[in-house]
Amino acid sequence: MKYIYLSLILLVACFHPIQAATDVTSVKTYLVDTVKKIKTASTDLVKNAEAYQKIIQTYKGNYQTAYQKAQPEIQKLIQAMQDNYKAMDSFGYETIEAIVAGVSTLADYDIYLDAGVPKADGPENVAPVTLKLSNGKIIDQEGSLFTYLIEPALWGGNPRWCIPLDLNQDGKIAPRESLPQTEFILAVAQDVDQKITALLSDARAWQPTQQDCFSALVLMTPTLSDYFEDWKESRYSDSTSGRFSAVSRLSDMQGIMQSCSILYSAVHNKITTEDKALAKAIKIGFDDILNFIEKLQQKENQGKITAAEIDELANQAKEKTDKLLPQIEQGAALLEIQIKA
């Protein structure tokens, strides 16, 4: 009798789904929960931007004097706004990007918030962000809120959104040594807060389907190899674009992988019923890439990486990511799910 029990236990162990049972509603729950957290951060950003403006206005718009007289308060607010940004983007939006960008009803938010380019780089994917600042200045389609406006403003990546100042009082102004323009940072903070509110409302209204999940996976998974390619190129030559200063690009890769992984977990069990091996291979594939990114992070933290290592890592990343798309497509075909164009 004990053999039967043992067999049953082992059978259950072998055939138990790799991940806790999930379905498409779990993707929505994850999305809504994450957007709520982003919303908290965006609301805080507005408050901090208002407080920052108030201090600068107290000194009649003289940033130098304001910084001299109220340095601790200003530094604290800048730090707080940078933390708000990280909570909104790097540790917030990036972890749902594959869902937002991959679901057709939400895709426009991705252009507006994260992926849209300035009109000068258009006409493709121009972010339709137009802001009217309190000083009357118009910011017309200069790129997405996170990538082109907020992050460069808070980390001094774009002099147009900042006031260059000798913050460390060493007699010279180094690149990025600046404070964000109050009118600009307040306007973008208010705009991002409004947009996140709208995203939250649309995310709540979204009725997810398996087709949505597969379609988003098919759309977003191939972008992973582009991320790795970008990483490789940036390792070969450091970028000076002024963007992507907040956290490493690897963190973004981790975020997008996480959201792809969440999407996949919603369809994993279904694929398992059709082709267990395929389902397992995809699951291991996603896990493998997440581990791989961790490995990359460790390597980056260790410091120097040789050119050969960079190339080999990029090559391995390509092999891991290239495989996933055709496998996901097979899963959809086996389930007779039409990928949404």
Partner: protein, 782 residues
């Protein structure tokens, strides 16, 4: 009973253990493989960071225990021997990586042939795939036909072919990546290069069983396998990299790859190659200015298209070695070198003109020496069927891309669909039903206010119904064209169509020419008249020559047909602007001359300056040739369908009608008073100028030299476009108005300057003489 239940229990236990052991084996295959792969990856990395971390033989032993195919045992033993060698070299690691793939493929098919579908699925799920591999058919077939012995061979064939296709693509990608690495990062690591070289070489040596299952005879699929270049390249690689030897080895690998292309595949790839070469300069021009990337997406597209072109060429080269042997031996090196130069020029962000020249050179070489053509061969009906199918497929893909917000892809696909439509369908539809051809063409571009075309919809980033309707409209128009072209053209219909074309295209030219000639009456204008007539004869001769050369010339020019038309049209507009100027000048000088003749007969006609003569020769040529060129394009497709004789009859009748119309206009003009005639001529010239400007704007928009901003709520019938050059876009409506503005400004300028001159002269004359002259002019001219 007890005994039976005991037996039943034992059977149940047995079944459970069997399923349990199968499940464990399945789990082990995948887990063991992933563990082994991770160790291999880590070993390679450690090698490049000057550490030594070798994969353990234990992992491989675990994996190899489940291998069943006899041939894999040999490969497994080789790997095991390698793993027991210390230290493990980069070359060995590369070799193991590739051999593992072959093992997976062999085991997959072996399991499938033994009816063990779950195991086959496991091995299949482990095989490395290129990014856009098509793997659906195999997955579905394994699931649906896996257990049917009657389909065993067909399934093995499918799986083997799939594997060969995937790995062939990976080999090409890896070769390409290696090539780029050596060119872009000159400080590459030689160990890495060795590992990749051996991996590619091993991967290209497919086990013979795979060819057998794929029903490909190895010797027929590829030339005799040789490793000469490989060994030459690899031997010194531990010390130095030799680019020439690399190139030789690359060529050897490409030659050794199996030819998996069908005749249809080859045909499609050849056409796609030409299309990509046409798109590369267009994308590049939009993406780079003064050596700087202005639109990254466009630049990246140009890069991608160039890379795709090379990959397609590499795919085609093995087949061309048999089918285009002579061209390949003569121009093969030049072709690949020029393509490499194009790729380098794009990387270096060189002048767009340079890119255009290189792409054009490659395209010409392919068309002239390798006999590639964008035009399909075969029966006309087959060509139409095939083209309609292709356009429809491209439009569907474009719509899908647009719906997925991949706007750039959507635009490129639209462009490809449009160029394909333009080349075969519009060209054939235009002579038969210009209204339909233009309507279909509009639908690819800005459409109508009620229904924006695809380009307008994509420019506006339309979504939902607005987007799908734009495509539906074009597909419906395409179907109409298809239905029209299905019906064979009878000789009577061909003659009638030719007459219509000649009349339509000739009318504008003849009216303006006859009016001008009538305006140049009198012996004083004889010289100018002769120049205009000479220009017209020259244009007629050039048109006839264009038509005569049409079979060879226009086929090669057809890619530029609309661009050439646009250039000719803009020249015609310039000439017409000069003529308008001249007419105004003439009106006032005529009035002035009349006064002078009445006053002193001292001042002569001011015409005859050199620019006027040149302009008039130009007008004679341009007004005829502008229409003549277009007529040649129309007639060419009619000749293809109805034959030269039938079209010739139509040309003669149409020519006769035009000559009659010209004579009538000339006769009317000859009976009008001179000044009235000039006013009449001026109005005609201005109206034709407006038509020219409108249609030229349209042509510029068609070839992408001007943007399109449709005017919503303004609907203009297609015939107004054909006859009056009126199209409902802001550019199309405003630029003719700018033309009118220019004409009006010139009219005022000439009027004011001539009045000022008159006054100056009148001041010098006695008052009574002037009054007498005025009264004589008023009685004679009004």
């Amino acid at each position: 009973m007890t005994c039976l239940s005991q037996i039943f229990r034992l059977l149940k236990i047995g079944a459970l253990w069997i399923s349990l052991s199968t499940a464990i084996v399945h789990a082990d295959i995948m887990d063991n493989y992933f563990a082994l792969q991770t160790e291999l990856d880590d070993s390679l990395l450690s090698l490049y960071s000057q550490q030594t971390l070798s994969p353990s033989a234990v992992s491989f032993q675990k994996f190899s225990q489940q291998l069943r195919h006899p041939s894999t045992q040999h490969l497994a033993n080789q790997i095991l021997a390698d793993l027991n060698t210390s230290p493990l070299s980069a070359q060995t690691l590369g070799q193991i990586q590739a051999n593992l793939q072959h093992i997976l493929a062999l085991e997959m098919i072996y399991a499938q042939r033994n009816g063990d579908i779950p195991t086959a699925q496991q091995y299949r799920a482990l095989i490395k795939l290129p990014k856009y591999a098509n793997a659906i058919e195999g997955a579905l077939s394994l699931k649906r036909m896996g257990n049917q012995t009657s389909h065993q061979d067909a399934l093995s064939q499918l799986l083997a072919k799939e594997y060969l296709t995937w790995q062939t693509t990976r080999i090409r990608e890896k070769l390409d990546a290696l090539n780029r690495l050596t060119q872009q990062h000159p400080t590459f690591n030689l160990q890495l290069l060795q590992a990749r070289t051996v991996e590619i070489q091993t991967l290209s040596q497919f086990p013979s069983e795979l060819y057998h299952w794929a029903f490909l005879k190895k010797n027929e699929a590829l030339p005799a396998s040789s490793q000469t270049a490989y060994l030459h390249f690899l031997k010194p690689l531990s010390q130095t990299f030799n680019a020439e030897l690399f190139s030789e080895w690359k060529k050897e690998i490409e030659t050794s790859l199996p030819n998996l292309l069908t005749a249809d595949d080859i045909n499609r790839r050849e056409r796609l190659l030409l299309k990509l070469l046409r798109l590369i300069p267009m994308e590049y021009q939009g993406g780079v200015r003064n050596g700087e990337i202005t639109v990254p997406l466009e630049y990246r597209e140009a890069e991608t298209f160039t890379r795709q072109s090379r990959q397609i060429l590499e795919e085609l080269l093995p087949t061309w070695r048999n089918t285009k042997t002579q061209a390949l031996s003569q121009y093969g090196t030049h072709l690949t070198e020029t393509l490499q130069s194009l790729e380098n020029a794009i990387t270096q962000k060189q002048d767009p003109k340079q890119i255009e020249t290189l792409a054009k050179n490659i395209s010409q070489l392919l068309q002239k020496e390798f006999q590639l053509t964008l035009l399909r061969s075969g029966k006309s009906s087959d060509i139409i069927e095939e083209t309609v199918l292709e356009v429809r497929s491209l439009l569907t893909q474009s719509l899908q891309a647009a719906q997925a917000a991949r706007w750039n892809d959507a635009k490129n696909l639209r462009l490809e669909a449009y160029t394909t439509f333009d080349l075969e369908i519009e060209k054939r539809t235009l002579p038969r039903d210009p209204e339909l051809a233009l309507r279909a063409e509009h639908s690819f571009l800005e459409g109508t206010p009620a229904q924006p075309g695809i380009k307008a919809a994509l420019d506006a980033r339309a979504r939902g119904e607005a987007l799908t309707k734009a495509y539906a409209k074009t597909l419906a128009a395409l179907e109409e064209c298809h239905a029209l072209l299905k019906v064979n053209l009878s000789p009577t219909a061909a003659i009638y169509t030719t007459i219509t074309i000649i009349t339509r295209e000739g009318l504008e030219a003849v009216v303006i020419l006859a009016a001008l000639l009538a305006g140049l009456r009198g012996p004083a204008n004889q010289r100018i008249r002769h120049r205009v007539i000479n220009g017209a004869w020259l244009a007629l001769g050039t048109t006839a020559l264009t038509l005569w050369l049409s079979r060879s010339l226009i086929e090669s020019l057809s890619r530029y047909g609309e661009k050439l038309e646009a250039v000719i049209s803009i020249l015609a507009v310039i000439i017409l602007l000069m003529v308008t100027n001249w007419v105004f000048h003439k009106v006032y000088w005529v009035q002035w001359n009349a006064r002078l003749r009445s006053l002193s007969k001292a001042v002569q006609d001011g015409s005859g300056s050199s620019w006027e003569s040149l302009a008039l020769v130009g007008v004679g040529f341009m007004t005829i040739y502008r229409e003549g060129f277009e007529t040649s394009l129309f007639l060419q497709s009619l000749i293809l369908e109805a034959g030269m004789r039938t079209v010739g009859i139509g040309v003669l009748i149409g020519g006769g009608i035009i000559a009659l119309l010209g004579w009538i206009v000339f006769a009317i003009g000859a009976h009008l008073p001179y000044r009235k005639l000039l006013v009449f001529t001026g109005i005609l010239v201005v109206s034709i100028l407006l038509t020219f400007v409108g249609s030229t704007v349209r042509l510029f928009q068609t070839v992408g030299w001007l943007p399109i901003h449709p005017i919503s709520n303004l609907e203009i019938p297609s015939w107004m476009g054909v006859w009056l050059g009126l199209y409902p876009s802001w550019e199309g409506m405003l630029l003719p108005v700018v033309g009118i503005g220019y004409v009006a400004a010139m009219w005022f300028y000439v009027k004011i300057t001539s009045l000022l001159k008159q006054r100056k002269m009148e001041e010098k004359m006695p008052r009574d003489v002037i009054d007498s002259a005025n009264s004589s002019i008023s009685t004679s001219t009004i």
